[in-house]
């Protein structure tokens, strides 16, 4: 399946949050470490609820965590 044009800054936000681990973030929003890794790598698009939960963990609005990357074909 084609990768959707959605990027995220979770890796950066984890770093800024004191090197929060993927497992820690996963525990806080109720998913596995592997799912956080998949989201960061753009291999999985989280549900809207999970996306909001991630944003709340970092105290950021959704659009500062996830963004739509426009390109010439979209």
């Amino acid at each position: 399946m084609a990768k959707p044009p959605i990027a995220n800054d979770i890796r950066t936000l984890r770093f800024l949050a004191g090197e929060m681990t993927q497992a820690d973030l996963g525990d806080r929003i109720g998913v596995t470490r592997q799912t956080i890794a998949a989201i960061e790598a753009g291999k999985y698009s989280p549900t809207l609820e999970a996306a909001f939960r991630i944003a709340r963990v970092f105290g950021k609005p959704l659009e500062e965590v996830f963004r739509w990357e426009e390109d010439s074909s979209s």
């Binding site: 399946m1 596995t32 592997q34 799912t35 291999k43």
Partner: protein, 145 residues
């Protein structure tokens, strides 16, 4: 690698090996030219042995995986696990339906019972194999449901 992906590898591998052996033995060790097909008891015994062996292999492999990654093994399926399982099950259901239509609607008019029974088993194995392949592919290449 996600715990459920490892389980899918184990189950797929053991299932393909087990039922390849079953169908190979059925084709080579039984007299399929008999009018009433191979002896039912012998065929059932072979099926039973293969199935029990597969279950034992899966149980041992699952136990080893669970011991090596206890936290992952105890974790409930999350939204990605469930999305991947839904997708794979949906596709496998279509494969199973086609197989059951062939087995239950088409074959009874032309084929003996032993062939119908084994065709049903083959349809089940194919549907399950496709389900596990899709699970593995979805974990490895990503899934954007």
């Amino acid at each position: 690698m996600a715990f459920r992906e490892k389980l899918a590898w184990v189950t797929l591998g053991s299932m393909l090996i087990a039922y390849s052996i079953y169908f190979w033995l059925l084709a080579t060790r039984f007299d399929l030219s008999r009018p009433d097909g191979p002896p039912t008891v012998a065929m059932l015994a072979l099926f039973g042995m293969v199935t029990v062996a597969q279950v034992i292999v899966i149980a041992i492999a699952t136990s080893i995986l669970a011991i090596r990654a206890q936290k992952d093994a105890n974790a409930k399926a999350d939204e990605r696990d469930r999305a991947i399982a839904r997708r794979a099950t949906g596709v496998a259901y279509v494969v199973l339906m086609v197989g059951m239509i062939v087995v239950g609607v088409v074959m009874p008019f032309s084929e003996p019972r032993w062939k119908i029974a084994n065709a049903a088993l083959l349809a089940l194995v194919l549907a399950e194999a496709i389900r596990y392949v899709l699970v593995i592919v979805s974990y490895r290449r990503g899934w954007h449901g």
